[in-house]
């Protein structure tokens, strides 16, 4: 089921009665989510990603705009009639019911033609439980389960009705680091197996990048960029997106362009054809540095962190806007001990942004 968001807007009235201050949680969001894909809504807290999710679920009403499931306008449809499955951040499992009762609960709500026999319900509950591999815990109460198991029960409960759209609100935030890694693979697998269009919300860019077919980066209610994770990473539209994606984060410098050459400090570090003379903000991905004795970009060397396959070179530069510069280079490169280290730059890993509005300034990469 494809999901279409059309100029979706949500405005919350201000709490303070004296100052009529409105909060625009989601601003004019238009996007078509293709059928059967896994979409990550990504952004820092307060960017409107959860609000968007709740509007799709029907729990919150949009102030403006429309939502379509397939060709049906569901904007005015109540949550229970939309056929969505929703997994809450803290799972919201009913504490007084066993796992089995929790999973069967949505089925027991079905009425009329959809009403199932008890055997059918149990069969479907077990099918959903098997899918998330908790079929051996069916008689436990949620309080007797670990966080990861609870999370699976929540997913099973959302899946058991065979929803048209599966919505996950920060599904991994309550899990520890190892479980998070495992569970996100699991979510990917379940989504592939069921083919249900899935939308999930996260503030963790790594999480979003690793399993999504497409990511939507949001900031203060405004969509910044939509695309495949690699595409967005390789070609950010503005400084915010560039900074938000990638670990270690992108290195940001003050720079200027003179005669189609990019200057950081006094050194001309790169040819940037097609850019007029101006001051710019420069973003360089950690993997954009190449150690080169004759390289034009000279930095002070702080330390070298060996991470096995790669080496992380921590250095500093007067024009850097981050406290330190982090470069990831292949472990085969021997970093000579000394006060400085010289780099040349990979042009497609260097992004220029306007100093005024932080939008991307594209130059031709030869």
């Amino acid at each position: 089921m494809k999901v279409v968001l059309q100029n979706l807007t949500k405005i919350f009235p201000g709490r303070n009665k004296k100052v009529q201050e409105e909060v625009v949680a989601v601003n004019d969001f238009t996007f078509t989510i293709p059928d059967g894909k896994l979409i990550g809504l990504l952004g820092p807290s307060g960017c409107g990603k959860s609000t968007t999710l709740y509007m799709i679920s029907g729990l919150q009403k949009p102030t403006g705009g429309k939502i379509f499931f397939g060709d049906d306008d569901v904007t005015e449809l109540a949550a229970e009639n939309r056929g969505v499955g929703l997994v809450f951040q803290n799972y919201a499992l009913y504490p007084h019911m066993t796992v089995k009762q929790n999973i069967m609960f949505p089925l027991q709500n079905l009425r009329g033609e959809d009403k199932l026999t008890k055997e059918d319900m149990i069969e479907r509950a077990y099918y959903a439980a098997k899918l998330v591999q908790i079929d051996e815990l069916m008689d436990r109460k949620p309080s007797e389960l670990s966080g990861g198991q609870q999370q699976r029960v929540a997913i099973a409960r959302a899946l058991v009705k065979m929803p048209k759209v599966l919505l996950l609100d920060e599904p991994l935030s309550n899990l520890d680091a190892r479980l998070r890694l495992q569970t996100r693979e699991e979510i990917r697998r379940i989504q592939k197996e069921t083919g249900i269009t899935t939308i999930f919300v996260t503030h963790d860019q790594e999480e979003a990048m690793s399993i999504s077919d497409m990511i939507v980066v949001m900031k203060l209610g405004v969509v910044q960029q939509i695309g495949a994770p690699q595409e967005v990473y390789d070609d950010p539209t503005n400084l915010f997106v560039a900074k938000f994606l990638g670990t270690p984060p992108i290195n940001v410098f003050e720079g200027s362009v003179k005669a189609e050459k990019l200057y950081i400090g006094d050194a001309a570090v790169l040819d940037v054809p097609g850019i007029d003379d101006r001051d710019v903000t420069v973003g360089i991905r950690p993997e954009g540095f190449v150690i080169d004795e004759n390289g034009p970009f000279v930095c002070g060397l702080n330390s070298v962190e060996v991470m096995g396959r790669d080496v992380s070179v921590v250095c500093n530069h007067a024009a850097s806007l981050n406290p330190v510069i982090r470069a990831i280079v292949d472990a085969d490169n021997k970093v000579a001990a000394g006060a400085t280290v010289s780099y040349s730059l990979k042009p497609h890993k260097v992004f220029l942004f306007s100093k005024e509005d932080e939008t991307r300034l594209r130059f031709e990469v030869k």
């Binding site: 729990l59 949550a79 929703l86 809450f88 919201a92 007084h96 019911m97 709500n109």
Partner: protein
């Protein structure tokens, strides 16, 4: 573990509370047991130099006393009728209060008012409301009779006035008035507890139920009530304990005759019985108090046992 040389400090800080508890709680309990076990014990006789035999005569007397059985029956009846009704109504009101936004604070206060009002005063108001004859005034040839508002309402809708509480009224009419009054009096506390419970229920359970298309009745029976079960158990248990100690409500309506004019003692309760015996037969009063304690203890145990099976946390 506190070092032993500092232990005396802990005892020092606890001392005021312990001393007060010993004087006003522990000693009276011990004394009650002592008095109940001295045959025909009476303080006045004790002062006069009388000696009392040790025995269970007081208990025997209490149990054989016809009046006591009436009291026991009245008390049980009021408990069994008022606790379920008031709990159910309180749950309904609490859920409704929780569901509305405007006026919630105001209505919360309104519903809580009976709790802070003197129950004798309320009882007198109820007595006036349910009055049959009201006050008669005027001259002998032109006698004006005011009936209570309840009977006025009944007559307004074409019914016949019922003798609720006056001389010649039926036992069940009396009980009906008492039940209405007791339920009304018990509501505020229960509403307060249940509303507090409702407000602490995570809203996401309701969101989850909504997404799953749960009907309202099912949300109430399958989610709200189970999640509230610890609070429900609490109000039921305290309701029964309070019900067994019923006294002032009856005094409020019927006066300390504990019954309608012409039939005193008909509506007497356990506590009423204890008070009656207290002036002359302290031994018997003590024995009755201990019997009451025993009954409350057993009922509470049953309550706890049931609620452990039915509550879900």
């Amino acid at each position: 573990m506190v070092e032993s040389k500092h232990k005396w400090k802990a005892w020092l800080y606890l001392a005021p509370a312990i001393v007060l508890l010993l004087i006003f709680t522990v000693w009276p309990i011990i004394n009650t047991i002592r008095m109940s076990l001295l045959e025909n014990y009476s303080t006045m006789g004790f002062v006069g130099g009388a000696r009392y035999e040790f025995g269970i005569g007081n208990f025997k007397q209490v149990l054989e006393y016809q009046n006591f059985l009436t009291c026991l029956k009245n008390t049980m009846l009021l408990c069994v009728l008022t606790v379920p009704i008031s709990t159910f109504l309180a749950l309904l009101i609490a859920v409704c209060l929780n569901a509305i936004k405007p006026l919630q604070r105001f209505l919360q206060t309104v519903f809580f008012l009976p709790y802070v009002t003197n129950s004798i005063a309320i009882g007198m108001v109820f007595a006036a409301m349910f009055n049959m004859v009201g006050t008669a005034f005027g001259t002998e040839s032109e006698l004006v009779i005011t009936a209570g508002i309840i009977n006025n309402v009944i007559e307004f809708f074409g019914g016949t006035a019922i003798n609720w509480i006056n001389a010649g009224s039926s036992y069940w009419a009396n009980i009906a008035v008492l039940v209405i009054y007791t339920v009304w009096n018990a509501l505020p506390f229960k509403i307060l507890i249940l509303l507090g419970g409702l407000q602490s229920v995570n809203k996401q359970y309701y969101d989850a139920a909504k997404v799953d298309g749960t009907r309202r009745v099912r949300v109430f029976t399958r989610i709200t009530v189970p999640l509230l079960s610890p609070m429900l158990a609490y109000v039921v248990i305290t309701g029964f304990i309070g019900g067994f100690k019923e006294y002032s409500n009856i005094v409020g309506i019927f006066g300390d005759d504990m019954g309608p004019t012409g039939d005193p003692g008909r509506l007497n309760t356990m506590v009423g019985f204890i008070y009656d015996a207290l002036s002359n037969y302290q031994g018997r009063a003590s024995a009755a108090a201990l019997i009451l304690f025993g009954i409350i203890f057993i009922v509470t145990m049953i309550n706890l046992y049931v609620s452990k099976k039915k509550t879900h946390f």
